[in-house]
């Protein structure tokens, strides 16, 4: 086995290379500046300043205190069962992107348009025969755009039953949407106690 020679003496060019590496590290770590300051400020800035590819990676860092409020669409069948229609009825881009877009639409008072979009998509599936692939969705007669609060300790997986729910809009499949307002949820009792 041949012994390798020693590494070369450092040159001016090597110092520039080290400076470039330091610059890259500073750039890649620059989102850390949004984690400096009081906790309330950090809690806001980490979401407000999130970007790409220099992200603040705020996921998994919020304390949810055992609950979540989700704006979403729920399907209701003729016998009153709750069925969750697939997010593709609202568009492409995956679950999380659709979830965010839907939440913003509800916040901006466009829940009626959301309900109409889902109802029209479900009706179109029936017309084209695609609904046959999803018996649950095929049974939906009405969609409701709601804001729901779920308490993790009390939630039964698969039940789709929230702790509290407020209606923002509704639409029969094949019909016309009716909007009900901003769907404000009553404050959670633990929040009142604080």
């Amino acid at each position: 086995m041949t012994e390798l020679p020693s590494s070369p003496r450092i040159t001016g060019e090597d110092v520039l290379t080290l400076a470039a590496l330091a610059g890259l590290a500073a750039l890649a770590l620059s989102p850390l500046r949004h984690y400096v300051g009081p906790p309330e400020q950090v809690a806001k800035e980490k979401h407000r300043r999130d970007s790409f590819p220099l992200s603040t990676f705020p996921m998994f860092s919020d304390d949810r205190r055992g609950r979540i409020v989700v704006p979403h669409v729920i399907g209701i069948t003729a016998d009153g069962r709750r069925v969750a229609p697939h997010h593709r009825h609202f568009g492409a881009g995956g679950l999380n992107q659709m979830r965010r877009q839907l939440a913003r639409a509800v916040r901006q008072g466009r829940a009626g348009a959301v309900a109409q979009r889902y109802a029209d998509s479900l009706a179109a599936d029936r017309a084209t025969g695609r609904a046959e692939r999803s018996p649950g969705e095929r049974a939906i007669t009405q969609v409701r755009v709601v804001r729901s609060r779920f308490l993790f300790d009390r939630y039964e997986p698969g039940s789709l039953a929230p702790h509290t729910e407020a209606l923002a809009a509704e639409c029969p499949v094949g019909g016309t949407a009716l909007a009900h307002g901003t769907a404000r949820l009553p404050r959670h009792q633990e929040d009142d106690a604080r």
């Binding site: 001016g12 790409f52 949810r64 979540i68 999380n96």
Partner: protein, 301 residues
Amino acid sequence: MRSLPVPVSALLQRAADRLAPAAQAVRPAVPRIGVGAFAVHVGLRRRPMLRALHRQEAERFRPVGVARVLRRPLPPRVADVLADAALVASGLAALGVAHRVTGPAAGALQLWTMTYRNSWGMIFHHDNQMVGHQIVLGLGPSADALSLDALLRGQVLPGRFDRRYGATSTAAAIVTVSVYLVSGVAKVRGPLGLRWATGGVLRDQIAADAVRKELFGTEPPRAAALLRRGRGPFGLLALTSLVVELGAPLALLDPRLGRAFAAGSWGMHAGIRVIMGIRFTYNLSGISSLPMLPVGPQLGR
């Protein structure tokens, strides 16, 4: 560097030997091939989704990063062409064809395509490393070996040692560890601080994820069943995550620490995959850690 005081010069020498070791061209070439091949793979798989995404209503457009130069979405066909160009450039860069052009082009086009993809109301955080790697490997001399360019020059595996090869590999490693470090700081700068490691926040996050998945018509992760049985493995997963993420920069200091980090981060992502049902494919494939596993010899002192 004779003009510098001896201690400074010695310090710079040590830093250069550690961070920009004189290595062979094969060192950055291996990550170039892995990253480029992965970019082509995911680009082809996502192509139909991206085309649908480009055709969404303009009111859903929320530009971030470099896409902020736009006030409204691009015409869908233009966005399609740019995404396809990123795909082609990534393939050519992986093969090492005219890399001085295709390398930077792949980095720039992928930066645009992925930023535009994240400009529709939701920022995804699993493409940061891939885009960063494509940029630094595209700008660096990563196609001097194992490339068509090298084949045409008649030296597929040149034996020359150069600090630029070691530095390019380190630049890619900096991209990798930065993502982990920022993620780790985000957790300990949250409302619970270091108590994040007890697993409660992670448990709630998994529960939130399960509820959302059910509400939007998809399958919840397997871990949802564990949630009602107390803390489960969440404390262990949380602690492992913090150790891996906050300890990531150590991987730059020594190849053995780099290998330990590569193994630890892979284990963390495997745990996330099993328990949370979230796939970080780039990390689980091991490609994100390739810069931590230096290939070929380097000159030592």
